[in-house]
């Protein structure tokens, strides 16, 4: 079978690996279609990440971030515009500072540390809270999580040994959250948030005793 990409030397040098692979069995036209599909799907994935990622720290991020999200959201639609812009700014800085491979290395290294930690929390919670009601129990409990942990550990170590700079960047960025954690705890949080409530509104009704 004649390799379609061999007819065009530019494909072999310029095109990404996925398109080269698609070119071997789909032909040159198929590879081009594949490229278009990838561009569209990358835009869609970008859209999805834009939507989802900035919402996470709203719930369990630093409190100033939560405050920022509330204060600087759009008055009518309440889109957390500030979070989106902050996220876009930081993503642009990252996109300018590294190549695709560097970014994926940094991303995977930092992510897999926490994937491993989450998986290992199965053991911790089973040990600490043995009598907890567990609607779902991990399939193949000691073996499969252990395998996952081993793979995660191997991946982390391997990335650290081979991609020292990227993993160090990931670690530094990750640990930069610790001062924020310290400061976010010092922000005073009132127990009862003051609202404009009249005492008459607070009093329960005498007539109705609830359902039943």
């Amino acid at each position: 079978m004649k390799c379609a990409s061999a007819t065009r030397p530019s494909i072999a040098t310029l095109w990404p690996v996925a398109s080269k692979a698609a070119g071997t069995f789909l032909g040159s036209f198929g590879a081009q279609v594949h490229l278009v599909v990838f561009v569209v799907s990358a835009l869609g994935a970008l859209n999805g990440f834009d939507l989802v990622q900035c919402a996470r720290p709203l719930c369990h991020g630093p409190r100033w971030f939560v405050l920022l999200a509330i204060v600087a959201s759009h008055p009518h639609t309440r889109v957390p515009v500030a979070c989106l812009v902050l996220q876009a700014f930081w993503a642009s800085v990252l996109a300018l500072s590294g190549t695709f491979d560097q970014l994926t290395d940094c991303l995977l290294f930092a992510s897999w540390i926490f994937y491993g930690l989450v998986a290992s929390s199965v053991f911790v919670l089973r040990y600490r809270l043995p009598n907890l009601e567990r609607p779902y129990r991990t399939f193949g409990y000691p073996v499969i999580p252990l395998l996952f942990l081993l793979v995660a550990f191997w991946l982390i170590i391997n990335t650290f040994m081979t991609k020292r700079v990227e993993s160090m960047v990931g670690i530094v960025l990750m640990l930069a959250g610790l001062p924020l954690y310290a400061t976010s705890n010092s922000i005073h949080r009132p127990k009862v948030i003051p609202t404009q409530v009249l005492p008459a509104q607070l009093a329960p009704a005498q007539g109705s005793t609830g359902p039943g």
Partner: protein, 313 residues
């Protein structure tokens, strides 16, 4: 399933309960709002709902939801405001009775996925670092990676191989080759454009049709589609945004249509007794009819999506 009485609805004076229900709540707020049993928490929740409701579709944490009535929780029957009631309820009824008024308000104590596990097993600092890492490294780097990948794939069509700046760094015994060229510009502009679209789409989303309905759950979309089919396209009012839900502007297909809202209200008043589902006694709880208050205007407004959801089930 735990239910906590947090107070009374200032409009209808009905008791408001927090319930942990299965796969129902779509909304949450940060940890700031918590049910402590104080009656003002309901109002706090309501006022916070108006500020947090943008999070409704931005979060998918569905652990806690609120219902105005706790009729299906037997030991809650005689609880008053400020008294915590514990009991077991059936998820189906919880789903029916849950009120969209305060759905997103009370708390996300157990929501958050990995965050919760990390917090319980390794403490708050590790969990915080996880959230931080999700934003700073994982989230933003994912976006940056996608932008860069997009530029790489686009460079096969377009001449994007110009490099304007290039430098080599020696860092930790590793050579870092840094370049700035057309590909980086394309990546950054893709990120900026998608961010702008994300702001704009949601802003416009309440007013014009938004085809990108990504953030809504599939079930919700399915419900709407079924609703449209069942109505036989008589009117579009069920797609308009209800007034009372703290000006929830997101993702309604045809936005605020006041005429449509009036029609929808009339339709709701006709169907609010749950006659479509043949469960009038149960479904009346959500409208306050079981308290002898009849159908109240405000409650109807608040429970409009609930009724729609129920009708679609």
């Amino acid at each position: 399933m735990t239910a906590l009485s947090v107070g009374r609805d200032p409009l209808s004076n009905e008791p408001i309960f927090l319930k942990r229900s299965v796969r129902t709540g779509r909304y949450c707020t940060p940890r700031r709002v918590r049910p402590t049993g104080h009656p003002s928490n309901a109002l706090v929740a309501r006022s916070f709902a108006s500020r947090y409701d943008c999070l409704g579709d931005w979060h998918r944490y569905r652990d806690w939801s609120v219902s105005e009535s706790c009729a299906d929780v037997p030991s809650c029957r005689h609880t008053h405001a400020g008294v915590a009631g514990l009991g077991r309820g059936r998820p189906a009824f919880a789903r029916r009775l849950r009120s969209p008024t305060l759905n997103w308000a009370p708390c996300c104590r157990k929501a958050g996925g990995e965050y919760v596990y990390l917090r319980r097993s390794y403490g708050q600092a590790v969990a915080f670092l996880y959230g931080w890492q999700r934003f700073i490294v994982a989230g933003s780097a994912s976006i940056a990676t996608l932008g860069t990948g997009l530029a790489i794939f686009l460079s096969t069509f377009l001449p994007l191989d110009q490099v304007w700046l290039a430098k080599d760094f020696q860092l930790l015994g590793q050579t870092i080759h840094w370049t700035f060229g057309a590909m980086q510009v394309v990546a950054v502009s893709a990120i900026c454009v998608m961010t702008g679209v994300n702001c704009l789409t949601v802003m416009v989303g309440g007013k014009v049709s938004t085809g990108t309905d990504d953030t809504q759950s599939r079930r919700h979309r399915l419900c709407r589609a079924r609703r449209v089919l069942r109505l036989g396209l008589r009117h579009w009012s069920h797609l308009s945004t209800p007034v009372g839900t703290a000006q929830w502007c997101g993702w309604s297909l045809f936005g605020h249509s006041h005429a449509g809202r009036a029609v929808g209200l009339r339709w709701l008043e006709q169907h609010a007794d749950g006659s479509r589902r043949g469960a009038p006694s149960r479904s009346q709880y959500s409208t306050g009819a079981h308290l002898g208050h009849g159908h109240r205007h405000g409650n109807l407004l608040f429970s409009q999506p609930l009724l729609l959801l129920r009708a679609a089930h």
